[in-house]
Symmetry: C3
Subunit: 305 residues, 3 copies
Amino acid sequence: MRPEVPDHLLDIESAPPGFLEHVLDLAARMRENPANWSRAQEGRLLVNLFYEPSTRTRVSFEIAALRLGMRVVNIAASDSSVKKGETLLDTFRTLAAMAPDVVVVRHPEDGALAPLAAAAAPGLHVVNAGDGSRSHPTQALLDALTLRTRCPGFPALKVLVAGDLRHSRVTRSGVALLKRLGVSEIRLCAPPGLEAGPRVSEGVRYFEDLDSALEGVDVVMMLRIQHERLAGMAIPDSETYHRRWGLTRERLGRAAPDCLVMHPGPMNRGVEIASDVADGPQSVILEQVANGVFTRMAVIQALLD
Amino acid sequence: MRPEVPDHLLDIESAPPGFLEHVLDLAARMRENPANWSRAQEGRLLVNLFYEPSTRTRVSFEIAALRLGMRVVNIAASDSSVKKGETLLDTFRTLAAMAPDVVVVRHPEDGALAPLAAAAAPGLHVVNAGDGSRSHPTQALLDALTLRTRCPGFPALKVLVAGDLRHSRVTRSGVALLKRLGVSEIRLCAPPGLEAGPRVSEGVRYFEDLDSALEGVDVVMMLRIQHERLAGMAIPDSETYHRRWGLTRERLGRAAPDCLVMHPGPMNRGVEIASDVADGPQSVILEQVANGVFTRMAVIQALLD
Amino acid sequence: MRPEVPDHLLDIESAPPGFLEHVLDLAARMRENPANWSRAQEGRLLVNLFYEPSTRTRVSFEIAALRLGMRVVNIAASDSSVKKGETLLDTFRTLAAMAPDVVVVRHPEDGALAPLAAAAAPGLHVVNAGDGSRSHPTQALLDALTLRTRCPGFPALKVLVAGDLRHSRVTRSGVALLKRLGVSEIRLCAPPGLEAGPRVSEGVRYFEDLDSALEGVDVVMMLRIQHERLAGMAIPDSETYHRRWGLTRERLGRAAPDCLVMHPGPMNRGVEIASDVADGPQSVILEQVANGVFTRMAVIQALLD
């Protein structure tokens, strides 16, 4: 039975029941045999409208669309209309008048995409590539695909998300999806001042200390810390952060024996994660990236079909 | 009978008789059934060479070319050869040596494209995407397509072009095309100091006051005012500009009952145009954008065929 | 007999015997009938990863890939992961996880590509588009293709490379390839302080004076001088440079009668080369650009097949 298909993918929370599971199933099938899909959306057009730079996410969407046979147009915030005082909604409506099939938007403000989706005519699909510090639904989906693929007991897992929970888009979308998929235990751990908001914290276990948080977990997702934030935390330098909040090989020893190590990238090696952990046998960080392309292919395919 | 087809589209004034009408007819046919043209120029290559940023125009040309099955390469002025002291002509000849079929150029200097067109080998077509404050022929064509589509009595119309006529590329190309297509009455209205040059002003009616200019017109095209120019005009702020030179709903009441409202974008809402007018039932602003893609498809197709 | 095909093209020196000759032969065949190759690599993906801007080289690779039916994704150094502190190797591995077929890299540091090639999984091919002041193998190949095409007696030639040898990537790769192809006599001439390193200088004749260096040569390749370097050389201005080190028509008279004039671009007219020489009948500068596309098509085709 096919699930209800929404017009847009704005966040995890508002997606209709069964749709995200459908996307994950489709992504897994696409990964089996990507060549089968090389003309699935031939002749259709995807626009990447990025108000914040993000090589990784932009390129992942671009490659996903190309692998479905689509054409892609990239617009960077440094482009001009933005500078000429045009509103986001006018820029979007102008683009929409050129009849693309999908517009992928990244924007620094929370909730910036809702008015765009509301203004979109039927046949135009808006996909959130990250807004404010709020949502990043395709990142949550690619993480879930990685978990489903790698953990035989899924969703019977203990998953820890640790690091700068407050400023990461990964936190809210990721935790929402883990809850929805029925993951057994979700743990959060953040340095003081970088905790997640109340909405994320419901139904999860909070730890103040990374060592205790890691105890017995099956998966740890480390989040990046931006250098600029260290000062605000009264942490003198990144070595100090690493000693207290970084995932080292020794610390990882507290987790379950085959505990997966995840990171949404880009990584600060030697800060939130030690290099030998990032490159170690438990790391699935590059698999996350590979799954990102299949996940985005599946999102596009599911919305357009 | 097919009109003479030029090698390049540099401006409205130099286009051979019948060619622009042919482009407008072709654009209208493309709009009827765009899918018919999806492989019309397959395998051919268009280069966007933009020395000024312009999301709207660059993306419109890019999508037009993609919809004809072409491949597109984008070059922004921020790219390097420009910075390395290479002349425009050398950059163009270098590109031309790579054998594209169409080079679309936007450049801040009036008349910058003439030497490029002169240097182009047969088979390479140069299209003006805006030079200096002089020409923007595809904008004029898309406006004309919108008028022809929307106004049953075309060309028996009273058309007003109002705002910063001096710095707008739309003025000269637009007025030249309206004259050429035999529009009955062309009115111009600009704040003091922002009037059009003498060449534009021949054969048109000039108004010093927006209220009188609007009296009984069938179409009003509002042009954007850049914030920087207000100071030079001794206008304290954009509210003052709006009160004196902005198109409000009240002011629009002076025009003919179904007077069309046009704007080339990007709009400054609340400055040269009120939001309720921009979004109102008489506005065809987004239709202009949609027609822009078909017009550019038609220009490319007409030059290449 | 087919030569050994390497996985990557990092520099001229490390390419296996016969491979570069194979690339040159293939490029010449592609130039005969480019349309034959328009689907040769259909569905495959090339990524341009440029840590330094270069319109000319990026566009040449992009057009080469498009002419083979490939899809192209461009990443500029101004993009974000780079700014977010990610290492070059992590950026590359992230990209590689998205499964492109070719990654073309330009980077300001000498030897930056070796660790990338070492990290690449089978099926992923790295091509050097210029690293540090060290290598630019596709530039060397396109120059060699131009020589082979234009000089009947090739490789029995006297070739002079003159100008800023020290900072030019063209020097080392170009001279290495000329030696390898058995060019009879290679001459170098540079202003004091801008000489090539010892590795380049083996087996070549060095001249301190441009007039003597030009005596009887069949080919002269002029290299660009950056304005910033003049100060360091105690040369007051570019006119002075031109008088002493510029290729003028008079000076060219010392060379063999049909001596070819080459320049890798972008040119500083009136500095290292006089305009009438750059545009004169002996100049093959634009032919070099045209050959650049065929050479890059051949490199991609040879690595992928």
